[in-house]
């Protein structure tokens, strides 16, 4: 592999937020296409970070730092890209369910998905089911990520599933849940499609849906 791309990969892996932009600029100066830099440098670097997270070498803060490193590099890459190529893997709507305003986990997932080529539509916190469904209709997004921390608000997950069925979207839609009070059992109980314990789980799940689409 091209040494400059390897250097970008290494910068992501080593969370080098201060050095990554210069390395990306060097790749571009050498005539490498932005898509290649993203696929071979940034995505591969994030894969290494994800693996280290799962093996316990990296922690949540490191995952976030990796997302920040990618954020640092992306403006330069995007300025060299056709706008249509910005969303490579599909659109994901993210929301913290109605009645709940905890958003740290959701934001981490958003950061990791964006860094991996998903277009993230973040609706924020305390989002009513109706708004999620309307956004899905308006944007064509069929991947939904719902975050819930409060036990008392988990019923909102079912509302999204039921409302999407009423809107005729449920078959095409994939609802993934995460957050402190969620679990596999809750996922089944609320009629969601998958449960992700960590941001890396969420990335894996949405990537598998994206490949299957």
């Amino acid at each position: 592999m091209n040494e400059s791309i390897l250097a970008v990969q290494k910068a992501i892996d080593e969370l080098d937020i201060d050095g990554v932009s210069a390395l990306v600029a060097k790749c571009l100066e050498e005539g490498l296409a932005p898509e290649i830099i993203i696929q071979e440098g940034i995505s591969k670097g994030l894969e290494i970070v994800g693996r280290k997270f799962e093996e316990g070498e990296y922690f949540l803060a490191d995952l976030i730092m990796a997302g920040e490193v990618v954020k640092e590099a992306m403006p330069l890459l995007k300025s060299h890209m056709n706008p249509d190529e910005a969303s490579l893997r599909g659109k994901v709507i993210l929301a913290t369910v109605a009645g709940d305003i905890h958003e740290i986990g959701k934001n981490i997932v958003g950061m990791i998905l964006s860094a991996n080529g998903f277009e993230v539509i973040d609706l924020g916190v305390d989002v009513p089911a109706q708004k999620i469904i309307e956004t899905a209709k308006a944007t064509g997004a069929r991947f939904i990520g719902l975050s819930a921390l409060l036990t008392t608000m988990v019923g909102s997950i079912r509302d999204v599933a039921e409302m999407s069925a009423k809107a005729g979207l449920r078959d095409a839609m994939k609802i993934v849940i995460g957050g402190a009070c969620t679990s596999e059992a809750l996922c089944r109980e609320m009629g969601a499609d998958a449960y992700g314990e960590t941001a890396i789980d969420a990335l894996r799940i949405f990537t598998s849906y994206s490949k299957a689409a």
């Binding site: 316990g56 803060a61 490191d62 976030i64 920040e68 402190a180 009070c181």
Partner: protein, 397 residues
């Protein structure tokens, strides 16, 4: 045995007559169930257009005389309700960290912003909204930093009353207006930016930690002088699946402050308990090296295995927690399920002592009655020597 003796002996690994209980605080809904509802609900007061107008216009000015006074009354009620529920030890907190900006927003003195909102039971509560410090300039200009001596003085006055009213009936775990150093930083700059701050703004992070350490030290001393025997401090170092950041980095950044804080407590013959949500398994050795006497919460919705923790750290630190608030201590569970869990915890964690049974958290959804079920079950099954037998099903496994 007196509850104070029961709790302190347990924390020192000495024999006691029964597994002690600890109440991880109660929210307004729960204390209203114990003490009776107010005539006019807080929610009604705060949603009143006149009140909103006043708060929106003069929020910061009326924070101290009106909101702080009202909060002190509510905090005292929380303490009384915990005592009346019959716990051996309770979480008593004095919180004057906030300034109300308007009817939807308050700020904590160390940099974070919170929503003021209804709790679903007619009361008002608050929830973290986001960081108040987004840049170096914000940090330098933050207008709400308190005078630590002033805060400590008022903390002393509050706890002097608490000790006078309840200090002989229960073992007080006291928390001053000093939230955990790490979680305060996380709230102040935002979780998504904290790793960047730690890397790029080392001097500011150090100053932030030092400022908070000073508040912790001074308020803890005020608590001990007022006669509180146990200091409890909350600092959520972990999430559901593990530590927020590398345990080595946590130790490097926050360990020195906590070592000084805990040593100061021990020098004055106090005990120190750290509350940290999430799965702290990888951090327990660091916490023990800082000098903690007890650890709370062993959150049941996280990956932590409290039974395994008892095996590996049970002789070095007092384990406090074990009763889940996501299902068991809610309206949805059956009383028998609470009793069964209490029996299991006593059977597995009671031998050898150094275990205090407790809810893992406070939550508006906890009914007082379920706490009573829990306390009654401990009173009935928790006496030493323990006589609970392993159920045949578990014994066969």
């Amino acid at each position: 045995m007196h509850p104070i003796e029961r709790v302190l002996n347990t924390m020192e690994g000495k024999p006691v007559d029964r597994v002690p209980t600890f109440c991880a605080m109660v929210e307004d809904r729960t204390f209203n169930e114990v003490l009776g509802k107010p005539l006019i609900s807080q929610e009604l007061l705060m949603t009143n257009p006149v009140a909103r107008f006043v708060v929106d216009r003069w929020g910061p000015l009326i924070t101290r005389p009106i909101f702080q006074t009202e909060l002190n009354r509510a905090l005292m009620k929380r303490i009384r309700a915990q005592v009346e529920l019959g716990f051996d030890s309770i979480w008593a907190i004095h919180d004057e960290t906030f300034t109300v900006l308007n009817h939807t927003t308050m700020v904590r003195f160390n940099g974070s912003v919170f929503n003021i909102q209804p709790d679903g039971y007619g009361n008002m509560t608050y929830m973290y909204r986001g960081p108040g410090i987004k840049s170096r300039e914000d940090f330098e200009a933050w207008p709400y930093w308190p005078d630590a001596d002033d805060v400590a003085h008022r903390t002393y006055n509050f706890f002097k009353k608490v000790v006078s009213n309840y200090g002989q009936r229960t073992c007080l775990f006291g928390q001053g207006p000093a939230y955990g150093i790490q979680e305060s930083l996380l709230w102040a700059v935002g979780f998504e930016k904290m790793p960047v701050w730690i890397r790029r703004e080392k001097d500011l992070v150090k100053r932030y930690i030092d400022l908070n350490e000073e508040i912790c030290l001074k308020t803890n001393m005020a608590l001990l002088e007022a006669g509180v025997p146990v200091i409890i401090q909350t600092d959520d170092f972990a999430f559901k699946s593990g530590p927020i950041m590398n345990p080595k980095l946590i130790d490097e950044l926050f360990g020195p402050s906590y070592r000084r804080i805990i040593k100061a407590v021990h020098d004055r013959k106090g005990k120190y308990v750290l509350h940290s949500c999430g799965d702290n398994t990888l951090l327990v050795d660091a916490f023990i090296s800082w000098g903690v006497d007890g650890l709370h919460a062993y959150e049941t919705t996280s990956n932590v295995d409290i039974f395994h923790e008892k095996k590996i750290h049970g002789d070095k630190v007092t384990i406090i927690g074990g009763v889940g608030v996501d299902y068991l201590l809610t309206d949805r569970s059956k009383d028998e399920e609470v009793v069964d869990m209490v029996k299991k915890l006593i059977r597995e964690l009671g031998p050898g002592g150094r275990f205090i049974i407790a809810p893992v958290h406070s939550l508006s959804s906890i009914p007082a009655r379920k706490l009573e079920v829990m306390v009654n079950a401990v009173n009935r099954y928790g006496a030493y020597p323990l006589s609970l037998e392993t159920p045949p099903k578990e014994a066969a496994q």
